[in-house]
């Protein structure tokens, strides 16, 4: 199959880009290995206090369905259940599809999103030990409980948000604890460090935080967490958030049966005896990183920018990379929320249109401004120093980028 633009990833950035480009005269194919389009949008369901009153509920599945319907209606070729293995020349995309094993395009847009970092604690491979993202997907998309009594290891904006979603769905969440604290790895999970990071969670503030803490929750939440350090835990939605307990290991013969927890001091030193808690599922949350596997096969320059979540393709403010005809959008450029991904999809699309001598519905400059707006409006911030990361990236781009 031959198209003007091939997009890898049918998440919010890929689908948005597809719509903008087909509306302005390009032929577009989107490839995704999941069984339905939408990417990480599919599992998202929460209240956004920053949105207008009639848009408070962020129902990612509905948004994904709308994007898919619009894209298909306009004639975008969407292939699901198909993995893009590698890309070669400009551009041949090799697929795991029984009939179409290659797509040829003038331009390639990588919108492969992000993946979860592992939290390899003893026992984590037992059935019942799952990632926090899987918990989000099974709860909100498949509507199946991941367990009868669930513990969450890792206290961060994403795991807090998923905890609330699970609680709202009627799942028994026994508590949230810190990841293991090992002096050797010099890790960043002591109670004090966790609280410092959680201050940023005020921006998340799903409705239930407000319900729990009253009208001033937004302003109070950081102080409340700091306060909680002096106590053993803080309760959110009836779930104890153990800021002073860390998980040691998961136990079970056939599958998860229990967890071993250890109390720690504010700076992460073990205090007292370890304890056992019976649960049948453990959700592990260790953060996200941009998915660059496919980008690597293109030979584009990659750079490591921890503020953006790790290794990303070096790219300019208009989403061009170091290779002509290769563009990026969404979480592959840094870990941010869905609203930013949508705006980045739009920006990449108008850049691509421009590179092919066509006009988009807005200018590149306008699309950049829309992206900045989305960044400010995002209810969920995953990384605290995104702006610093973007500045670093722009400097590198000016020095090394090819335009």
């Amino acid at each position: 199959m031959k198209v003007d633009v091939a997009i890898i990833g049918a998440g919010p950035s890929g689908l948005t880009a597809a719509i903008e480009m087909i509306e302005n005269g390009l032929t577009v194919a989107v490839i995704d290995e999941y069984y339905r389009p939408g990417g990480r949008l599919l599992g998202q369901h929460y209240e956004d206090p920053k949105a207008a009153p009639d848009q408070r509920v962020w129902n990612g599945k509905n948004i994904a369905d709308q994007l898919e319907k619009k894209a298909r209606g306009l004639g975008v070729h969407i292939f699901t259940n198909v993995t893009a293995w590698s890309v070669s020349e400009k551009w041949k995309i090799h697929l795991s599809h029984p009939k179409i094993n290659m797509i040829v395009s003038k331009v390639l847009l990588l919108a492969t999103g992000s993946a979860e970092k592992a939290l390899p604690i003893p026992g984590w491979t037992l059935p019942g030990g799952i990632s926090i993202g899987a918990a989000q997907t099974f709860t909100n998309l498949h509507r199946v409980a991941v367990g009868e009594k669930v513990l969450i290891a890792g206290i961060d904006p994403l795991s807090l948000s998923v905890m609330i979603e699970m609680k709202n769905a009627g799942i028994d969440v026994a508590g949230m604890v810190l990841p293991p604290i090992s002096p050797a790895s010099g890790n960043h999970h002591t109670p004090v460090q966790t609280v410092a990071r959680l201050k940023d969670v005020a921006g998340l503030a799903p409705n239930s935080f407000i319900r729990t803490f009253g009208k001033y929750a937004l302003a109070w939440f950081p102080r409340l967490i700091a306060h909680a350090l002096r106590f053993n835990f803080l309760k959110v939605n009836g779930v104890p958030i153990h800021l002073r307990k860390s998980i040691v290991r998961i136990e079970g013969s056939e599958q998860v049966e229990a967890v071993i927890l250890q109390s720690v001091s504010a700076d992460g030193k073990p205090v007292g005896q370890a304890e056992r808690m019976e649960v049948d599922a453990v959700c592990l949350s260790a953060g996200l990183y941009p998915l660059v596997d496919l980008a690597e096969t293109t030979g584009c320059t990659l750079v490591d920018i921890p503020e953006l979540g790790g290794v990303i393709p070096l790219h300019g403010p208009d989403m061009t990379t170091t290779i002509n005809g290769l563009f990026v959008a969404g979480n592959i450029t840094g870990i941010e929320g869905a609203k930013v991904a949508i705006a980045q999809g739009q920006l990449a699309a108008v850049s691509i249109l421009k590179s092919l001598g066509k006009n988009g519905s807005i200018t590149v400059q306008e699309a950049k401004m829309e992206m900045e707006k989305a960044r400010i409006q995002s209810p969920l911030r995953f990384l605290p120093n995104i702006d610093e990361g973007r500045t670093k990236l722009n400097k590198l781009w000016e020095k090394e980028g090819v335009i």
Partner: protein
């Protein structure tokens, strides 16, 4: 309509019958096989080829390959992103989980 304790709500979605290691189970048409299994309380999908330890879903989105199974004769299918259909036969790749019936067949 399914009334399994692992289902978070009851809907009018179309149900189907499928088989896991010869056991007849009920799921929703089009949901990932892994979701149907979990809804039936099944967490162990296969055993590790090297260590023999049990494995089940981990990432739920196609990245980790922990949820692999044999589906209608095709080995190493990721059940978290493969839609379930009427009559599908799913097998853990390891015979020990197949209630010994694979030995009879081979």
């Amino acid at each position: 309509m399914l009334s399994n304790s692992y289902r978070l709500d009851q809907t009018e979605q179309k149900t189907i019958e499928f088989y896991f290691n010869h056991e007849k189970l009920i799921g929703y048409d089009g949901e990932p096989i892994a979701a149907s299994l979990l809804a039936n309380g099944i967490k162990t999908i296969r055993t590790c080829e090297i260590t023999g330890e049990n494995r089940g879903i981990f990432c739920g989105i196609g990245h980790c390959y922990e949820c692999r199974a044999e589906v209608d004769g095709v080995p190493n299918v990721r059940t978290c992103l493969t839609p379930n259909r009427e009559g599908i036969e799913v097998f853990s790749s390891n015979p020990s989980l197949n209630k010994g019936e694979l030995e009879n067949e081979s």
